[in-house]
Symmetry: D3
Subunit: 257 residues, 6 copies
Amino acid sequence: MSKHVRIITPHVTPAPKKLLEVEDLIGLADLEFTQVNIETGPISIESEFDDVLCAPGVLARALQAEEDGAHAIIIDCFGDPALHAAREIVSIPVLGPGETTMRVATLLGHRFSVVTVLDSVVSILENHAKIYGVHDQLASIRVINTPVRSISHDINEVATKLTEQAVLAIRQDRADVIILGCTGFLGVSEVIESNLKKEGLPVPVINPLRTSVMAAVMMLQLGLSHSPLSYQPPSRKPITGYTMPSLAKKSVNRDRL
Amino acid sequence: MSKHVRIITPHVTPAPKKLLEVEDLIGLADLEFTQVNIETGPISIESEFDDVLCAPGVLARALQAEEDGAHAIIIDCFGDPALHAAREIVSIPVLGPGETTMRVATLLGHRFSVVTVLDSVVSILENHAKIYGVHDQLASIRVINTPVRSISHDINEVATKLTEQAVLAIRQDRADVIILGCTGFLGVSEVIESNLKKEGLPVPVINPLRTSVMAAVMMLQLGLSHSPLSYQPPSRKPITGYTMPSLAKKSVNRDRL
Amino acid sequence: MSKHVRIITPHVTPAPKKLLEVEDLIGLADLEFTQVNIETGPISIESEFDDVLCAPGVLARALQAEEDGAHAIIIDCFGDPALHAAREIVSIPVLGPGETTMRVATLLGHRFSVVTVLDSVVSILENHAKIYGVHDQLASIRVINTPVRSISHDINEVATKLTEQAVLAIRQDRADVIILGCTGFLGVSEVIESNLKKEGLPVPVINPLRTSVMAAVMMLQLGLSHSPLSYQPPSRKPITGYTMPSLAKKSVNRDRL
Amino acid sequence: MSKHVRIITPHVTPAPKKLLEVEDLIGLADLEFTQVNIETGPISIESEFDDVLCAPGVLARALQAEEDGAHAIIIDCFGDPALHAAREIVSIPVLGPGETTMRVATLLGHRFSVVTVLDSVVSILENHAKIYGVHDQLASIRVINTPVRSISHDINEVATKLTEQAVLAIRQDRADVIILGCTGFLGVSEVIESNLKKEGLPVPVINPLRTSVMAAVMMLQLGLSHSPLSYQPPSRKPITGYTMPSLAKKSVNRDRL
Amino acid sequence: MSKHVRIITPHVTPAPKKLLEVEDLIGLADLEFTQVNIETGPISIESEFDDVLCAPGVLARALQAEEDGAHAIIIDCFGDPALHAAREIVSIPVLGPGETTMRVATLLGHRFSVVTVLDSVVSILENHAKIYGVHDQLASIRVINTPVRSISHDINEVATKLTEQAVLAIRQDRADVIILGCTGFLGVSEVIESNLKKEGLPVPVINPLRTSVMAAVMMLQLGLSHSPLSYQPPSRKPITGYTMPSLAKKSVNRDRL
Amino acid sequence: MSKHVRIITPHVTPAPKKLLEVEDLIGLADLEFTQVNIETGPISIESEFDDVLCAPGVLARALQAEEDGAHAIIIDCFGDPALHAAREIVSIPVLGPGETTMRVATLLGHRFSVVTVLDSVVSILENHAKIYGVHDQLASIRVINTPVRSISHDINEVATKLTEQAVLAIRQDRADVIILGCTGFLGVSEVIESNLKKEGLPVPVINPLRTSVMAAVMMLQLGLSHSPLSYQPPSRKPITGYTMPSLAKKSVNRDRL
């Protein structure tokens, strides 16, 4: 049976290269990928402010994805905007690259570091690590001081900077695993892994978008989705100013019996 | 010097009684209070979904408040929607009743419980407690199974249910301090405190809106506001679909020197 | 490309039904499964004593699996015997159902419980949860007081007992996700999930063997394996009394550069 | 209604400048301040030994303060000597600058550092942070190697040293908020805040005495005091060698009903 | 070589039976025991207030013990009054029964409970467990609601009540080890251990005074005492109202080289 | 009464000098020491792989020790191989130097460091610290990059390297107490303590084998052994390939009454 994974890119900048990052996974298990951007919001996500402005658009796209018959949703941003809210309103699995890669990293080694874009996202990601329960295994978050929109200008330079920070994370912060902390770092995970190997540091380098897709496949193949007790369906009530597709998810009550 | 505190109620339901809850504090230090609702969003906040939909409206109101010359902002909901994002974009203190009361509770006793509306908010508040770093002092979150919009229908019954849960929190969960976990619980904190006293349990009962206002006064009087290193001003970049007042806050860089 | 997953059952009792539990996953990505038992050790794993006695056999089988060209190894016991040691000596991914399911559970909900066989394994699993860093999300470990060797005698009764404990875990311990805590619980995960749904508790029930296999597939598809900095290859030195296949893994040094 | 805040300086050295530090707060809410020293104890508090010797004097002053009709008590030392014991014996709020500023710091940013006098107090304050539950948010405690009694000799040099340590706390230890860790650092908080701003680090600098006074005002205005379940009134029994004013506080019992 | 252990009972009530509790240990390693009470303070320790009032007397006795040539000091109260301060001023080991037994308990099993006198000491002991770093292994603190001065009136009834609470600690709170949480529980540890065995619960029951003495012997035999970096000697300075034997301990500086 | 302590050295290399390390303790309390090696396993323990291969031999020796009438067992390796399993199968106390010294260290100061042999054991010891519940007090684990079998070649050089790492642990990592992290570091603890004193750092240096022996003496003198609820006796069942002395320990059930 074919499985359809919808990638929701939570900003308004078109992202044609996203599907290239995962296209080799299509052969596996009759996977089908589609990608959409949101319609309202910022051009990139680098702050809590950006997170707030993109989140309603993500929810609209999540409801639409379930209506379209998608089997799983990937929110294509390491900041996992609207992740928990989306899980409340759809029944299919919703994966965020931030959460997914941090959990996969703990499966690969004792301590991990995230190498990412800007100092402004460090506190946000640390708070996420606290909620996800992986903060004690987070060796460090290191940044290359490059805004998201500049990544594609010189991807080679970005790969070099990411390697530099990864080396410091391993040697100074005692990381055993490296996570690329932005889904805009396209096509560089293998380069960085190879660079680190040349430095005598053959550690796993985790690609956020590909890893999220494979975690979604794992969940689909196992018939698993998020617990409705953790992500309880919202009650229906009037909303002003948003035209959301209707909420269909049934509510659950731990205390019913 | 007069101090102007702006209360932003993050839903679209008019809330005329909010100012009554704090009007006796006006005499103190030439305080002035104003209250506004948001223009787009749900009628109450009881899920991550509601949180996402109210948050852009809160940010618009926060920017407006600073432009209006307000000296501090209270986000009038225990779920603290858009709290961190608002701190990124304005320089004046922004207080959330959830965070504020949990911190004040730790000043009053070793363990606190929150008594609130619905089971659907429990995980949200627990995650907040983890980010705020007070989870180890949180004895429990207990609910009365009453949606926000029904609170005002029979406030006496609500007070009775809150007292019942508070007694259980103290006796079974070993709470030493009680927090009322919804800013819609208007006018009942003293009743509940008095009820508990009659039960032989004279513990502090924390009123979320009043406590947030007084914490704002404390910060204003001390000339303190949030650290721009924790809440870094977002960079300016195009946003589609929102007309935000312009972002004026200057960026800060820990590594500058 | 075909992927070969070797399942190592770490006791001496033949386990012909193991492959049935995962055979429907074969279609996915040209997977191939093989299963072996160990040659020396106990008939089941229910204590640290059993763990010690099965562990050398697991390591011999792990080395052999890599020599046989297997692409990944599953240690077929929830107690994850010899997991870290096996990762030290082979380069292919080694998955333990205990660790894997606890991490997947945290991806599905805020708190999970394990329902398992005997009180004697509770401390062992709690210590594992501490090492894996998921102890704060562990709601409880509950037991059905049935030894491993009795599970297959009346699998329906086992399913009933597991459902009972799962209901208590959800209602009393506030679990949002249930893990079946023994890989001998064959063919019952769907029954239990269905039983819980009938109770009004539609939570995910995690099957340990299937989940471990799919996590291995995820790692293979992503080209990921364990960090050699976390699991450093042992130096070669004389060993008395064991005939281990030779250790081929190259050592790594964080401090080399 | 006028509110009377009694500042108890827990050493025998007269401290005439203390009231100057807070006198501008008098206008607020009809505040009245009085300050007393203790009669027996050391000349400054820089060790657990000093803490023990000043504590009985603090308790005598606390009982006297309540008899005098004071509405709140500030223990004027960052080491919070006799804080919990004082809360046991009086009903009015008792604030310690160590606890109060650490909690207020967490309201202002994600991580804070304390800059203080001597290495001998570091362990003491770290242990306090563990009891107060804020240890995970404590970036560091840094010292200027100046004993308390030397602070007033050259307050400008002290301010310079404090600024130096604050810069290191921000840059090396990743603090977002700075606490001045001695109530003897009089009149320098604004200078240090201004120094840091010139360095491009506009972070909040928390003045311990002023902040404690305003936290007391907040509690008085809200009608809150410490939970008698956390700080249970001692039973009356013979005491040899101390002439304490009589204990009037009524005992409380969580288990009564 | 004979070793002299000084037991300091931190209240003014004569305690002639204390030495009986440990006299059978005298044969070991030429041990010599002496016991003294303090001269000023309460008749028992059941609150932070009592702790403050007994602490100066404990310090005077600690200095005297070292002058007398004692080789180790036991502070004979489970609340460990003045423990850290005493370590600052003498070079010989100072043991507190609270800290010592909690650490020994963690050597005997995964989780321990304390059974003690009154609800008023629970928070105090929990805070101690946080400072000592054993709070995560503390299953519960349970009380028999008997004040210290009433213990000796009917020691059999006390033993019965302690057994009852111990059974609940094991069955309900999942304790694996029991600590008697008051050094006034003389001569009952074996009775309680035997009672528990009859209930089918053969768990270790830790006697606080005997265990502290043996931990002191261990430290003396190993030539170990407390780190002067953790417990730094106070500087000499004027003290009003106390006549302390002179402080002889030399100061230490981590930063010297 | 004479007490017999059996030291089990968990590798196959003869270790004649072990008894010299503790012989001066014999006078104390009629102690008798015997030492045995295991018969099958590696020549030293420096990995999880080594741990697995030595563990069955340790269990055989533990059962034999109890049959021989020994009163306590020391597992003579800082990695504590088979520690929990051995406690399951014998009733006498079983001490591991890793666990014992980490607990004793916390009795001596606020933070400790371990100085040990190779980088390959660091993760293993950190995981042990997590299980033992002392990870928050562990300042660092530092290594001298010397394999176990090379220690005796130049013990003076080893002492020099250990001193160097201890100094760094104290100055850079803020350790207050030093643990020698290998029981092969024979005869050097006093040298290192003396070296540190000359550097102005008079901190306790903990000798793992001697400390474990004295902790065993403490437990014997107090009549204490491990809780059978934490270390439950394994059920009897067929084992292939091992000839274990018979398991005599009776099982225990928390739920019996």
